[in-house]
Symmetry: C2
Subunit: 705 residues, 2 copies
Amino acid sequence: MTTTDQTAPATPAVEPPATPVPAAVPAAAPARTDPADARVDVAALHDTLLGRWPRWRAAARAHAAEPRFWKDETLTMAEHRARVLDQCRELAADPDHQVWLAFPARLGGGDQPGANLAGFEELALGDPSLQIKAGVQWGLFASAIWQLGTPEQQDRWLPSAMDLSVPGAFAMTETGHGSDVAAVGTTATYDPDTQEFVVHTPFRAAWKDYLGNAAEHATAATVFARLVTRGVDYGVHCFYVPVRDGATGAFLPGVGGEDDGLKGGLRGVDNGRLWFDHVRVPRENLLARYGQVAEDGSYTSSIESPGRRFFTMLGALVQGRVSLDGAAGTASRVGLAIAVRYGAERRQFSGATPDDEVVLLDYATHRRRLLPRIAETYALHFAHERLLDLFDDVFSGRGDTPEKRADLETMAAAMKATSTAFALDTLQECREACGGAGFLTENRITSLYDDLDVYATFEGDNTVLLQLVAKRLVGDYGKALGAQVRTPEGKARFVADRAVDTLLHRTPLKRAAQTVADAVARPGTVFDAEAQRVLLADRVAAKVEAVALALRPARHAEPAAAQRIFDRQQVALIDAARSHAELVRWELFTQAVDATPDAGTRTVLGWLRDVYALTVIERDLAWFVVNGRLATSRARAVEGELDALLRRLRPHALDLVAAWGLTDDHLRAAIATGAEKVRQDEARAYYAAQRAAGEAPRREKAPRR
Amino acid sequence: MTTTDQTAPATPAVEPPATPVPAAVPAAAPARTDPADARVDVAALHDTLLGRWPRWRAAARAHAAEPRFWKDETLTMAEHRARVLDQCRELAADPDHQVWLAFPARLGGGDQPGANLAGFEELALGDPSLQIKAGVQWGLFASAIWQLGTPEQQDRWLPSAMDLSVPGAFAMTETGHGSDVAAVGTTATYDPDTQEFVVHTPFRAAWKDYLGNAAEHATAATVFARLVTRGVDYGVHCFYVPVRDGATGAFLPGVGGEDDGLKGGLRGVDNGRLWFDHVRVPRENLLARYGQVAEDGSYTSSIESPGRRFFTMLGALVQGRVSLDGAAGTASRVGLAIAVRYGAERRQFSGATPDDEVVLLDYATHRRRLLPRIAETYALHFAHERLLDLFDDVFSGRGDTPEKRADLETMAAAMKATSTAFALDTLQECREACGGAGFLTENRITSLYDDLDVYATFEGDNTVLLQLVAKRLVGDYGKALGAQVRTPEGKARFVADRAVDTLLHRTPLKRAAQTVADAVARPGTVFDAEAQRVLLADRVAAKVEAVALALRPARHAEPAAAQRIFDRQQVALIDAARSHAELVRWELFTQAVDATPDAGTRTVLGWLRDVYALTVIERDLAWFVVNGRLATSRARAVEGELDALLRRLRPHALDLVAAWGLTDDHLRAAIATGAEKVRQDEARAYYAAQRAAGEAPRREKAPRR
C-alpha cells in the first residue's frame, strides 16, 4: 500500500510551521499565584485555543461572522437550498481557498488536510447546512476522488469537483443499509465486451439514500457498489458516475431519484435518493487506487485481504468523523456562550433581600447545568486538537502508517460518537436554561439543535462507532494476553496503558505507582490529578478485561451461540468505549493544563479539568463503588466536592466562555447581547426612583410608614 | 373560600358514571399461567388504557386521526397559524363539545373537567400547535374567567371565549419574569374618580411575553397585574382587558405588542408580546372571585393571607400542568410506537448466518434504548390517570378541599416536570434509534420533538416545579418532626409514607415490615415488588430528611446566610423531588398491575413494572450503594437482571405498543407502516432467486463451487 504518492510535490507551506502541540511544551512549573487571585488570561487562552492552524481557523471564523454566510431562518426549503449552494460557490471562489486546502498542490490545493478541517469546522458558526453541503462536496465527493482515485483520475475529476463546476453526491448509504456499508446492494458488473461497468440497483432497499446534493444539484456521484467481474464479487468499490445533465438538471438515462424532502434540520442541504437502471460507465470510472480491473476483466489489488481492502477504502470517511467532532465542539460553545452570558445577567426570584433578585448563575442548579459542560467542552477541544494532528499526519502522508491509520480511525470514532451526543445534550440543556427565551428562534439554540441532530447518526451511527472502538480495545487486550504480562493486575494495567498510549501517539501514560485504592486515599478535598488518572485509566482496563474475558467463549462457538454471547456483552462494550473516550479526553486536557504558561490561567484550567474528572466519576459513581475502586465515604463526598469546585469556578465562567472568541455576530442571539441587563437595570431604576419619590405603593400588611 | 359555587346545577352526566380507577378493582389472584406462555390481551389492555373517560378520550383520538387536524409540515408560519385557528374553530363548532366540557353546564359546558383533559391531551396527536392553541383559548384564557371570575363575570365573558368569537391571550408571563409570577411589573391601579383600573406597563421587562394568541388573534386578554388601590399593593390579580378591535384586528388605544416570531416548534401558535400604556378598564373587569375592590377603592378578599391568596389564584394554572403531563405521555407513545415498529422490522449487520441480518430489537443495545422507555411510559400513564382523578375531584367541586388542592398542585408539578423531560429524551432516543430515517420529517419524530421542546419550561419551568415539590416534601417532614414519631427510622418511614400517602389520596403505602436491607436480601434473581417498594420509598424518606436537616439552620439565619444554606442544598432538593416522582409512579404502576384481571397481561405488565423499578434503581445505583441500601454484590447484579428482563419482554414489545391504540393515521411515519419489511422481503427474495438460478456471483476467496 503506497500512501504518499499524492503528496509529493508540496508547494511552499501556506502557513508557518505548526506551533507545537501542547504535549511538546515543557511542563510548566506549579502555579505560584494564590488560587483565590487566579485570573484567566483571556487573550492568551484564546490564542492557544486557535490551535495549530490559527490562520485558517481564524479566517474561517471571520467568514462565519459575515452576514452572507448566516443561516436565514425565514427561507423556505427551496430558497435555503439555493442560498447554500450560492454560499458554497462563494467559498470555492474565495482567494483564501480554505476549502481546497486539503487537496494536492499540483491541482491548486495546499496539501494541508489538518488546516483544512480546522477551518471547515468553524463553518457551522455561519450555518450548519453550509458546513454539511461543503462537507459533501469537498469532504466526501471530491475527497473520494482524491483518496480512492489514481493521480490520473484526480487530474481528470478533481478540478471540477474543487471549483464546484461539478456538484457531486457521495452515494454510499442505501435505504436498506446505513452504517453497514459492506452489505450494500448496488452492483457494478464489468462487461469486457464494451469495457464498461454496468451500475445497477437491484431492488428498492438498494436505492442510495440521504445523499447531500442528490435531490437537486449533483451532476455526478461517487457511487459505492459491489464490483463484480468474471462472476466474482470483489466487494464494495467506488465509481465515478455522471447522474444529471449539467445544463438542464435532468437525470441522465437510466438514473432516477427522489427528494428526501423536509428534514429535522439542515434544510439547506438537498438530500435525496438515487437509483441506477443498468447505467454504463467506462472501465476507467472505477476509482482505482486500491483495486483495478483490466480490459479483460481480471481484478488486481495491492491489498490482498478483502476485509482490509474494504476498510482502507472506507478510511476516506474518517475525515468526516474528525470534522464532525470539531463541529460538535463549535456548536456546544455557541450554546454555552449564549446560556452563560444570559445566565450571568438574568435575575429571578428573591435573594437575600426582597428587592435583590438572584442572578441565575448564582443558583447551584444553574451552575450544575452549565459549568460542567464548559469543562467538558474544553476537554472535547483538547482531544480534538490531537485528533486533528493525527489526521494531518496520516492524510498529508507525512506520517501515514497502518498503525497510525488504525489509531486515527479508533480515536475519530470514539470522539465523534461521544462529542456529537454531548453537543445535542448540551444544546438542549442550554435552551432550557434560557427558559421561554431559549425557545425563540431569535435566540438561535433550537435552530442549532435541529441542525446538529443528525450528527449523532450520520458518518457512522454513534452506537455502531462505539462498538468499533470497543472491539479495538478488546483486540488490544487479546494481544496483551499473548504478551509477557501474566498477573491479572499486570494485564489490566497493560491494557489501559496500551489502549491509551496507542491513541496518544504512544506518549506513555505515567504508570500508576500505587494501586487505585492507594492513589485515591491520599489526603485532600478533591482527587488530585494522579488519583483522577488512576481512577479513569483503571476503569477502562477493568471494563475492557471483563468484556474480553466474557467474549472469549464466542471464538469457538457456533454462530448462533456466538451471537448470543455477543448480545450479552453489547451494552458493556459500548460502556467501555465511552469510558475510553473520557480517559483520552482527560489525559489530553491534563496535558494542556500542564502546558499552559500563565499561572492564573493554569490554575483555573486545572479546576476546570478537576470538574471534568469529577463529572465523569460522578456519572459512573456506582461502577467505582460496586467494583471496589472507591470507598463509600469517598464516593459520598464527590457531589459536594464538585459543587464546591463549581462555586470556585463561578467567577471565571464568563472568561472561560470569552476565550472561545465568539462575537455577537457568531452567536446571533438576542439574549446574549447584554439586552437582558439593560432591561433589568431599567426596571431597578424605575423602582428606585419610585421609592425615592415616595410614590411606591405600600405592600399589603407591610408596616405603615 | 368557596369552591363549589360554580358547579351546582349539573346537567345529566354526559357520560355514564366513571369506571372505577385501577385501585378500586379487587386485587387479582396471582398469575396462574406459565410465565413463558404469558400473552398480552391487547384489546383488553387498550380498553383499560382509555382510562376513566373512554368516550371522550376515544373521540378526541378519532378526531386527531382526521387529516383536517394533522400538522402540515409544508406551511409557512403565517399559513400554519391561520390553519390552527381554523382548526380551533372546528373544535368549537363540534357537536361533541369536548373543548367546552369543563365549563359550567348552565353555559353549555359539561361540568366535567377531568373528561375534558382526557380528550384535550390527545389533540397533540394531530398537531401539538393545535393542542397548545386550544389550551391557550380554553385552558388558560377561558379558564381564568371560569376559575377567577364571579358567576356574573362568567356569564358575561365565558360564552364568547368558549365559542371562540373572542380569541384571548393569557397575559401572565413577562419578559422579565417567567415562573416567578409574584414579581411581575405590570400594575392595575384603581382610580375611584372614574371607577376604573389603569393597566400599565412601567418598563420593558414588564412587557407580557410568549403569550399564545397575542401576536395576531387575541381580541382580549386575561392580564395578571399587581392590584394597587388607595396606595396599597395587594399583589397579583387578574383583569379582563380588551386588546384588539375584533373587526380590524388593530390594537386598541394604549395597547401595543410584538410578534415573538419563529420558535423552535409550535409554529402554528401566534405567540407574542403585549404592553399597556395607562389602559383603562371598568372596575368590574377585575376577576373578582378571590378579591374585590369596592367603588370607593376599598379592597376585600375571602382569603386573608396575601400568600395563600396568590397561590389560590395561580391554582388555575394547574390544569395546564396536568394536561402537559398527559400530552408528554401521548408524544412519548408516538415516538416509541414508531421506533419499536421500525426496530422490529429493520435488519442490520450479519447475524448468526451471513445472509441473515439481525433485527434491531434483537440487539441488546437497541432493547436498552427502547424497552425501558416503554415501561416508563406505562408508569407515566398510570400516574397520570390518578392525577386526572385528583384534578377532576378538585375542579368539578366534587372533592375540593384545601388539602386536595395542595396535593393536586404538588403531584401535577412532580409529574409535569419529570414527564416532559422524559418525553424529550425519549423522542430524541427514538429518532436516533431510527438512524437517518428518523431525521426525515416524513417520519414525524423530529417534528414532534420540536413542538414538545417548550413543554419543559412553560406552564412552570421544570426546575422551579421540582423545587416546589421538594419544599412540600420538606414541609411535610417538618410536620412529622412535630408529631409523635421520635426515632430516626420512624421519622424516615413516616415521611416516606406520608408524602406518598398524601399524593395518593392517603391510600396508605403498605408498611415495610422489614428494614430495607432485610427486604432486598430475599432470594430471587430480581427484586420483588415489596423490595422495590422499600427501596424506592426509603430513598425518598432518606433524601428528604437529609435536606430538611441541612436546611434547618436557615430558619434562624440572616437572609444572605440563609440563601447560602439553601444554595448548598438546591441540587439535593431537586434530586429528592425526582425520586419522589419515581416513587409515586412506581406505586401507581404496581396498583394497576395488581388490578389487571387477565393473568397473561398481568404477568407481562408485572415484568414491565420490574423493568421500571430496575431502571430507576440503576439510574441512582450509586446512591443506594453509598448509602448502604444495597450491598455491592446485589448492586452489581442489577445491570444483568435488567438485561435479562428486557430479553424476556422482547416478544411482547409490539403488543405493549399496540395497546396504545395508535393507528397509522396517528403515527404518520413512513417507516412505521410496514414499508421496511416490504423492502427487506424484496431484497431477500432477490438474493434467493439469484442463488436458485445459479446467477449469484461468487464471493472473492469463497471456495469455488
